[in-house]
């Protein structure tokens, strides 16, 4: 995979949920090479504040009426300087993007797939679901191999119903089961999304592969469940990042490793290059022991 740095125009900018928006860009070159769970950096050209690009995961690529790749979409929640600036963008405005970056989620290995999303961590799962269910292939340029799963379920949690974003997009994927959870019960299950996950892990059937993206406490809870049920589990991290392509060494996560002498140890690995997706059993969460 080779990344590109390119200017891209805003094709569409619309609300998805409370404080949550989707931006569609005409970054065709990038769109043809990206896979689900990969990300790209977005910067406002020529502006010094915000200075750095910010990483955004692919929501999905888009095609024109003839089926040609026309652009790509990402979702964001307005939380800070950059997302506040993004919220001002209108169709036709130009941004700078570079990517695709990171390893992304592995393609479906078959069996039961359970996606666990918290908040805006839902972003990578539309493309992943479409791929697993045979709707779309990635990268467009040279599609990767996918083993047909026996079932695909998205367990998606948010604070309340107002923050659930893109639910209609998910429900439109043929064969994708969508299970929702909210903290206040305003939509779906009242409680944690990990409680939905545990029901799948308890149920008999083919092996479960977990893919998760969301806030760190959620990922840590998913990790714990995956380890106790001995399920393969992929966690996608979001860490503060300056470049996105491995040069700055900002975005490190603690990863278990075994020394040549056979001792248990750890080292920092870059989320942008060696991640953002790591296997649950190799990750050490620092902030939420």
């Amino acid at each position: 995979m080779s990344a590109v740095q390119q200017k891209a125009r805003v094709l569409l900018h619309e609300a998805m949920a409370k404080n949550t928006f989707r931006l569609r860009l005409d970054g065709v070159e990038l769109a043809t090479t990206i896979t689900p769970g990969q990300f790209f950096m977005v910067k406002i050209p020529g502006e010094n504040d915000p200075l750095l690009g910010r990483p955004f995961a692919l929501f999905d690529i888009c095609k024109d009426a003839e089926g040609r790749v026309a652009g790509l979409e990402f979702g964001y929640v307005v939380v800070g300087k950059m997302t506040g600036r993004l919220a001002q963008l209108q169709a036709g405005d130009e941004v700078e993007i570079w990517g695709p970056l990171g390893n992304g989620f592995p393609a479906s290995p078959g069996g039961r797939l359970v996606f666990v999303a918290g908040g805006i961590g839902q972003t990578p799962f539309l493309a992943l679901a479409r791929e697993a269910l045979g709707v779309q292939s990635y990268p467009q340029q040279n599609p990767r191999k996918v083993v047909q799963p026996s079932s695909v379920t998205l367990c998606y949690g948010a604070r309340n119903a107002e923050f659930l974003a893109g639910v209609e997009d998910f429900k439109s994927v043929p064969g994708l089961k969508v299970e929702l959870a909210t903290d206040d019960g305003s939509e779906g299950h009242r409680g944690y999304v990990t409680q939905l996950l545990e029901e799948h892990l308890k149920a008999p059937g083919e092996p479960v592969t977990i893919y998760a993206c969301g806030p760190e406490p959620m990922l840590k809870a998913v990790q714990k469940l995956a380890l106790s049920y001995n399920a393969t589990c992929w966690l996608s991290l979001e860490t503060p990042m300056a470049c996105g392509f491995g040069a700055c060494f900002s975005c490190v996560a603690k990863i278990r490793e075994t020394t040549p002498a056979g001792e248990e140890s750890w080292d920092y690995r870059r989320t942008c290059v060696e991640g953002p997706v790591f296997e649950a059993r190799e990750l050490i969460f620092e902030n939420h022991p």
Binding site: L51, C243, A247
Partner: protein, 332 residues
């Protein structure tokens, strides 16, 4: 006469060149180090170069300086390691690297094959560390110079080498003994007088001075009282520091007879030219590599064009052409 024909043959192109493109020499000399052009990339902002391969045409660069190498592996500082501030980046990476032996086996060969000069940046906790590393790297011919990081604000337990002229002179002189390669001392701005440190480094045998490393800074979340960096203190870089770096380059260029590599907030061709005019012989693009990764290799052609437009045949003609400030020109 054959002689007069020759003269007219030589003269013609130079007359034409007033209206067409004069060949411009971008070559610069930094002590014993010769570079094909003055555009370098700063250590710690270019990874080990392979990270930049999708964005950069290495051949356009005067040289590359990979991430700082230390004698022993270093895990680096706990995250968060960077936080963005207004027009700047505060970092405390902490020289995360696998140590010199892994650098040699894992990175050096690939770096050696790049079509540009390779300058290796080293940091030590003691003069012995610097000397041992300089000796170890001396045998590798593709390494054209060593840059001594005596200025990283994120790793020292006590006083940095670069904050003390005696210690600066000691480490530069010791490395000069240990290697035949040109030596660049990268200095910290976090001192009362960079001129004093610069003079010490120059007198001890530095071929050039990189001015400057990051400015110490701090960021806090007032709501929680938590420092924003895992390490607390960090080093500030980016456009926010350009005037600060330019001031130091300008002052040192007036006071010390040693080639300067200007570094601090460069993100455009104008920035490059400002550093050259203030007295830098070469520059390093740093933080801009993070948010405009293809910038560095685009600057060379732009620089060539500016020199042509101004009728300069050599980049040296621009260097240190800064004028004396107006209110100092009057004689009393």
């Amino acid at each position: 006469m054959p002689g007069s024909n020759l003269v007219s043959f030589i003269k013609k192109p130079s007359v034409m060149s007033l209206t067409s493109n004069l060949p411009v020499s971008l070559n610069v000399q930094l002590g014993r180090l010769s570079l094909k052009n003055p555009i370098l990339v700063a250590s710690g902002t270019f990874g080990y170069a392979r990270e930049m391969s999708a964005f950069v045409d290495y051949a356009q660069l005067g040289g590359i300086i990979p991430k700082t190498v230390t004698r022993e592996p270093r895990a680096g500082n706990p995250p968060p390691r960077t936080v963005e501030t207004t027009a700047g980046l505060l970092n405390s990476i902490g020289l995360d690297n696998d140590g010199i032996e892994v650098f040699i086996t894992k990175h050096l060969e690939a770096l050696s094959l790049l079509p540009t000069a390779l300058i290796v940046n080293i940091a030590g906790k003691s003069t012995e560390d610097f000397v041992v590393m300089a000796r170890r790297l001396d045998e590798f011919n593709p390494i054209q110079a060593l840059e001594l990081n005596i200025s990283c604000p994120n790793v020292s337990g006590g006083v940095d080498y670069g904050t003390n002229p005696t210690m600066t002179a000691e480490v530069v002189a010791a490395v000069r003994q240990a290697t035949s390669k040109p030596i660049i001392a990268k200095l910290t701005p976090n001192v009362t007088s960079v001129v004093e440190i610069a003079r010490a480094a120059a007198n001890a045998g530095a071929d050039a001075l990189s001015l400057v490393n990051t400015f110490q800074g701090f960021a806090v979340d007032w709501k929680t009282g938590e420092p924003r960096l895992g390490n607390g203190l960090g080093g500030l870089s980016g456009p926010a520091i350009k005037p600060l770096a330019l001031r130091i380059v300008w002052q040192v260029a007036q006071a010390v007879d040693c080639p300067i590599i200007g570094v601090g907030g460069i993100q455009s061709l104008d920035d490059v030219l400002e550093f050259l005019v203030c007295g830098a012989t070469a520059v390093q693009v740093g933080t801009a590599n993070f948010y405009n990764p293809s910038l560095s290799s685009q600057l060379t052609s732009g620089l060539e064009k500016v020199l042509q437009d101004r009728g300069c045949s050599r980049v040296q003609e621009l260097i240190k052409t800064v004028k004396v400030p107006k209110n100092q020109r009057k004689t009393c």
